[in-house]
C-alpha cells in the first residue's frame, strides 16, 4: 500500500504545482486593451444564436478599434474580448462567469445568449460588482431583482408579441380573439407567454390552446393537430430558432390553416431563406430591423450595418447580432463618459446612458432594461420565390400593410 500512497503524493503535488503555475491574473486593462469577458453558446441548442451574438460583438469591436478605439483620460484604448463556450448550459455559464472574473481578472462583462443563461450569470457579476451589458437576456424577471450591475440594450421578453394580439383584436373589430399558443419550456419563451396572457386579459381574448414544447424542439405536430380541430384566430409560437423552423415546416406539411401566425426568432432562423414561400405571412417579433431610421457614427444606418455585416459574415444580420453590436457601443460610451476604469464609475456612467445607435435609442430603466426602444413586428412577404421581412408595426416604421388573414393553403400556390 505504501507505494500507492507515494503515487498519490506525487499525483497531488503535480496537481498543486500545475494549479499554482497557471494562477496568472490578467488586468482589467492590459496595455492598450480593455479586456471584456463573455461566456457564449458556441455549442449546444443555442449555438446558432450564440454565433450571431459573437459575430455582433466581434463586428463592433473591430469597428470601434478601427475608428480610434475608446478614449479614457486622453489615452486611446482598444477593446478585446475573452470568450468561453458555455455549451448552452446555465450551470456552465455561471461557472465560466466566475472563471472570467476570478481567474482572467475581467472587470467588465458582455452578456451570454438567452435569458436562462443571463439569469445564471447575473448573480455572479452582481456579487463581484462587475458591470455587465447584455444584449440577449430579455426575461422580465431579470429586471425585477434589483440588480445594480446589469444593463440590457433590448426590450423585455413579455413585450415581444403583445402587439400581435392587439393587431389581431383590431382586425377582429375590437372584439377578443381565440388564441392558440405553444411555447418552449425555457425562461425566454415562457416570458413571451406571460406577455400574451397579459394581452389576452386586457383585450378579453380567450386562450384555447396553451401547450408547452420540449427544449430540444423538433416536433409540434400534437399542438398543430389541435389547432386544426379548434380553429383559433391566432397561433402564437415561440421557441428560439428551432421553434420557428419547426413551426413553419410542420404547418406547411400539415396544411394548417390559421388566420394569423405570430412567432419569434424568424430572422435568426433565416426563415424567409430556409423555407421561402412556406413562411409567407408569418408575423414576427423583432428587436430591430435594418429599415429603421436610427443612426450612429460607427455603423451609420441599419441598412449600412446590414451591408457591412453581410460582407463580413456572409448573411443578413438578425437582430441578435445588431443588439450585440450595440452593447459594445454602450460600453464605449460609458467608458468615455466615466473617463476612468473604476468599475463603479463605469457603472454609474452606464446608468446615465442616453444615446442613439443604429440599433435604436438606449436608455436604461431602474431595473436595467432598455426603456427607450419599442419592439417591432415584421411579416414575411414574397415576390415570386424571393421572400423578405417587411416591417408592419408600429406604423411609424411600417413599410408595408399588415396582410390579414393568411389565405388558406388550398388557395396558396
Amino acid at each position: 500500500m505504501n507505494k500507492i500512497a507515494k503515487l498519490f503524493v506525487t499525483f497531488i503535488s503535480a496537481i498543486t504545482l500545475a494549479l499554482v503555475s497557471f494562477t496568472s491574473s490578467f488586468a482589467k486593462v492590459e496595455g492598450e486593451y480593455i479586456v471584456l469577458g463573455s461566456a457564449i453558446s458556441l455549442t449546444g441548442k443555442y449555438s446558432s444564436n450564440g454565433v450571431h451574438t459573437q459575430n455582433g460583438y466581434n463586428m463592433a469591436v473591430e469597428r470601434i478599434n478601427k475608428m480610434g478605439g475608446v478614449e479614457v483620460q486622453g489615452k486611446k484604448y482598444k477593446f478585446e474580448i475573452i470568450y468561453y463556450d458555455d455549451e448552452s448550459n446555465p450551470k456552465r455559464a455561471a461557472q465560466l462567469a466566475e472563471r472570467l472574473i476570478k481567474q482572467d481578472g475581467v472587470h467588465y462583462m458582455l452578456g451570454p445568449y438567452s435569458s436562462g443563461l443571463t439569469k445564471a450569470i447575473a448573480p455572479v457579476t452582481e456579487k463581484y460588482k462587475i458591470p455587465m451589458v447584455e444584449a440577449n437576456g430579455a426575461s422580465r424577471s431579470l429586471f425585477t431583482k434589483g440588480y445594480k450591475y446589469l444593463f440590457a440594450v433590448l426590450s423585455p421578453a413579455n413585450q415581444y408579441l403583445e402587439v400581435a394580439i392587439d393587431l389581431a383584436v383590431e382586425k377582429n373589430g375590437g372584439k377578443g380573439v381565440k388564441i392558440a399558443q405553444a411555447f418552449e419550456q425555457d425562461a425566454f419563451s415562457q416570458d413571451v407567454r406571460l406577455g400574451i396572457l397579459d394581452a389576452a386579459k386586457r383585450t378579453g381574448s380567450e386562450i384555447i390552446i396553451d401547450d408547452k414544447l420540449p427544449k430540444e424542439l423538433n416536433d409540434m405536430a400534437a399542438t398543430l393537430a389541435k389547432v386544426k380541430a379548434v380553429k383559433p384566430d391566432v397561433l402564437v409560437v415561440s421557441g428560439h430558432t428551432k421553434g420557428a423552423l419547426t413551426a413553419i415546416r410542420q404547418i406547411s406539411e400539415m396544411k394548417v390553416d390559421v388566420p394569423m401566425l405570430a412567432m419569434t426568432h424568424c430572422d435568426a432562423a433565416k426563415l424567409s431563406k430556409q423555407h421561402g414561400k412556406k413562411s409567407e405571412f408569418a408575423l414576427c417579433a423583432s428587436q430591430w430591423h435594418k429599415n429603421l431610421s436610427y443612426k450612429d457614427k460607427f455603423f451609420g444606418s441599419g441598412k449600412k450595418y446590414a451591408k457591412d455585416f453581410q460582407k463580413e459574415f456572409g448573411y443578413d444580420p438578425p437582430y441578435q447580432s445588431a443588439e450585440s453590436s450595440a452593447a459594445l457601443l454602450v460600453f464605449k460610451d460609458a467608458f468615455e463618459r466615466a473617463n476612468s476604469f473604476d468599475r463603479d464609475a463605469v457603472r454609474d456612467a452606464l446608468v446615465d446612458t442616453e444615446m442613439q445607435t443604429f440599433y435604436g435609442n438606449i436608455k436604461f430603466g431602474p431595473g436595467g432594461q432598455n426603456v427607450a426602444k419599442p419592439m417591432i413586428l415584421f411579416q414575411v412577404r414574397c415576390k415570386g420565390d424571393d421572400c423578405e421581412n417587411r416591417v408592419v408595426a408600429p406604423t411609424k416604421w411600417a413599410s408595408d400593410k399588415f396582410y390579414h388573414p393568411i389565405p388558406k393553403w388550398s388557395e396558396r400556390s
Partner: protein, 354 residues
Amino acid sequence: MEKVKQKDLILYSGLIILGLAAPYLFSAFKVQLTYLCVLIVLAMTWNLQGGEMGYNTFGNILFYGLGMYLTASVQVGMFFPLAEWTESGGEKTFVHTTTQYFQGIGVGLLVAAIIPTIIAGAIGYAILGLRGHYFAICTLGLGIAAGEIAGGIEIIGAGQGFTTPPFPAEIVDAEARGKFFYFLSFALLIGTFVFVKYIYGSRFRLILNAIRDNEDKAEAMGIQTMKYKIVGWMCSAFFCGLAGGIMGGLIGYIDSTDVAFDGREMGVFMVLMAILGGKGTLWGPVIGATLFHFFKEGLWTLILGWQYVALGVLIVVIVVYFPEGLMGWLREKYPERFGEVIDEKDRKAQVELK
C-alpha cells in the same frame, strides 16, 4: 475494522490539510474546487452501483436533481411563499436574512438527503428486479422523465427555472460565498469517502460483489439480493441528494433539464469518471474525477467548439486502452503494489507449459 495504517494516516491527513488549505492557496479556483468535490462524490456513489454491484445506473442524476430542487424549495418555503417566489419566472423578490439563509440551507440539505433516499427505496423496489441493459435503459428513462416533469411544475418555476436564494448581502466579503460552498462540499466529500471506505471493509461490499459476479448464485446461497441492492442504491441517493443541494445553491439558478436533471452531462460524467479511474476500486473514482475535471477545465477552453469531439476521443481511448480504468491498469502492471501475491513458480510453470 482494521486499524488504519500509519502510512495511510499520513496520506489522509495530508489530503485533508490540502483540502482545507486549498481555498486559500488557490483562491481564484474555489468554484472549480467545489465542482471537483461534487464530481468525486458523484463518481464514488455511482461506483457503488456500477462498479461494486454491477448495475449500470443512469438514474443517480434523479437524486441529484431532486436534492437540488428540494434544498432550494425548502430554503425558500421556510420563510416565504414558494409559489410567489417562482411565479412569472421569479419576478417578485424576497430577501433572506443571514440567519434565514443558513437555517434554510441547513434544513434544505437535510430534506435533500432524506427524501431522495426514500424515493430510491421505492423506485428500487420497483425496478431493481431488472438486470443488465434493461436496468440501465430504465434508469436512463427515469432521469429524462424527471427533467420533463420538473419542467412542467409551476411551483418550482417550471420552464423558467428557479433562482435560488442569493447569498446574504449582509456578508460583505465577496469570497465568503465561495468558501462556504467549498467547505460544504469538502465536508460532503469526506463524509462520502469515509462511508464508502467503511463499506469497502464490510461484508456489505462482498455481498454487492457477489451480486455483480453472479446474482443467481448469490441468491442461491441465501443472500436476499433485492434487499441489499435497494439499500445500496439508497446509500448512493443519500449522498447524491446532498451533492445536488450544494450545487443548486452554488449555481444559483436551477433549470429542469440543463442543471438539475442534467443526465446528458452530469449523468454521463459520473459514469465516465468512475470508469476512467477504475470502477470497483476505492480510489479509482477519486482519481478519475480529478483527472477528468482537470482535463475538462484545462483543455476545454483551448479547443473551443471541439471539446465534445475531444471528450468522445477520450471515451474511446479509455474504453479501448484502459477498459479497467487507470487503477485497473496499474493493478495489472504492478499487482504486488496492490497486495496481490504472485507465485513466481506457478507463473513460470504456466509459461513453461507452452
